[in-house]
Symmetry: C2
Subunit: 225 residues, 2 copies
C-alpha cells in the first residue's frame, strides 16, 4: 500500500488518509461536493479535524476549495492529466538518471525480481489489471527511492502525487498496455544495471510519454461514447 501509515495519532491525519483513499479509488466521484458535517459524522469525529484534513488534501491537490463554498473533489480533465504526465516525465526521468548511479546492485536485482513477479501475474491474470497497476506504481516508486532524493520520493510517492494513483484507478480498467509497459520496464532496468543514466532517463521519459498517449486515446474513446 502506497498510502502512508493508515493510522497514526491524530484524527485529522486519519481523516486525511481515509479521504485520500476514497478519492483515489473513485469512491468519491470527481467534482463531488464534500460536506463537512456529513463526513465528520461518517468518520465519527468533529468538524475541526476534518477541516484540517481538507486543508491537507487541498495541498495534495486532491480537493479544490473555494472560500465560503466548501470543498470539491478535483476533476481530472484532459488538460490536467496532460500537465500531470509532463511533470511526471521530468521528475521520473531525473529520478531514473540519478538512480542509475546511486542504486546498489542488490536493489537493481530486486527491481528485476519485481518485474518477474509482474510477468507471472500478467500471465495468470484474468481481469486483475488493478494489481498490475499498483505494481507499476511500485516499480516507479522503487526507482524514485533509488534516486536517494527525499523530495523526489515525496513528490512521486507517498505524500504529494496521489493524483497519479487517482488517474490510474480511472484508467486501469481497460488497460491493454501491460505487456509493452513490462517490456519497457525491463529495458529501463537493463540500463540501470549498465549504469547508463542518460539512457535510463530517456527510456523512462519515452515510457511515460507512451503511457500518456495510451491514456489520451482512451479519453478520446470515452468522449466519443
Amino acid at each position: 500500500m502506497l498510502i502512508p501509515q493508515p493510522q497514526q495519532g491524530t484524527l485529522a491525519d486519519l481523516a486525511t488518509h481515509k479521504l485520500a483513499h476514497s478519492i483515489v479509488t473513485g469512491e468519491l466521484a470527481q467534482g463531488q461536493k464534500l460536506n463537512e458535517a456529513e463526513l465528520a459524522e461518517r468518520f465519527g469525529m468533529g468538524r475541526g479535524p476534518l477541516r484540517e484534513a481538507l486543508r491537507h488534501l487541498e495541498g495534495m491537490r486532491l480537493v479544490k476549495r473555494t472560500p465560503n463554498a466548501g470543498a470539491r473533489v478535483v476533476v481530472l480533465d484532459r488538460k490536467t492529466l496532460s500537465d500531470l504526465y509532463t511533470v511526471r516525465e521530468a521528475l521520473e526521468g531525473m529520478a531514473c538518471r540519478i538512480a542509475a548511479t546511486q542504486m546498489s546492485d542488490d536493489e537493481i536485482e530486486q527491481l528485476s525480481a519485481l518485474l518477474d513477479k509482474h510477468e507471472t501475474q500478467i500471465a495468470e491474470q484474468g481481469g486483475k489489471v488493478y494489481a498490475q497497476s499498483e505494481g507499476d506504481l511500485d516499480f516507479h516508486y522503487q526507482i524514485a527511492r533509488g534516486s536517494r532524493n527525499q523530495m523526489l520520493m515525496d513528490m512521486l510517492g507517498s505524500e504529494q502525487y496521489q493524483l497519479l494513483r487517482m488517474c490510474r484507478y480511472r484508467t486501469s480498467r481497460n488497460a491493454q498496455r501491460t505487456k509493452p509497459a513490462l517490456s519497457q520496464h525491463r529495458q529501463i532496468v537493463q540500463a540501470l544495471a549498465n549504469r547508463d543514466g542518460e539512457l535510463a532517463e530517456m527510456l523512462m521519459r519515452r515510457h511515460i510519454q507512451g503511457a500518456w498517449r495510451s491514456i489520451s486515446e482512451m479519453i478520446d474513446r470515452e468522449e466519443a461514447a
Copy 2:
C-alpha cells in the same frame, strides 16, 4: 510579489500567507517552534484557523509537524537544498523546453525587457542584491508561465515551492553571481527566441546547476566559519 493574494476570505488563508512570509523572509528562524496559542493571539484569531494554516504550510513543506508535539519551521540543510535544486533542474528544464514552443513573440520580448531592467538595477545597485533575487524569481516564473502547464506553474511559482524563495533570502546577501546569471538568462531568452527548446532546456539546467554550485560553496564557507 509572488506570494498569492495577501488577503482573501478566510482567516486561515490569511494566517497561511502571513506565516509563509515570515518563514520565507527568515523572520521566523529555521527549526523554531511554532506555538499555536501565541501565534493565534498575535494574528488576532482563534486557534482553529491557525491550525488549518499550519496544515496548509505542512503541505507546502514550510513546516514540519509531529503529532502531539507541535509544528516547527523546516530546516534547510545541505541535503534538502541539494534535493531541491535537483528537482528544480528537472522541472524548470522541462518548462523551458515547452516554453520555447508555446510562448508568443511578445512574451519573449517582455522577458528580454525584464532582463534589461535587471541590468540597470545591477549597474546602479549598491547592496540591493535582494531586488535582483526577487527579479530572478520573476524571470523563472515567467518561463514557467510560458509552458502553459498549470501544474508546473503551481510547483515553480505561487503555491508549492516557497522553499526556493526561503533559500534565496538566506543566500542572497553575499551573492556575487548576479552578472554571470544575467548573462545566462540572456542566452536562454535567445534560445527561446530561436524556438530551440532543446538548447533552452540545456541552458536552463546548466544555469540551475551553476546556481547550486555557487550556493553549495557558500554553505561550505559558512560551515568553515
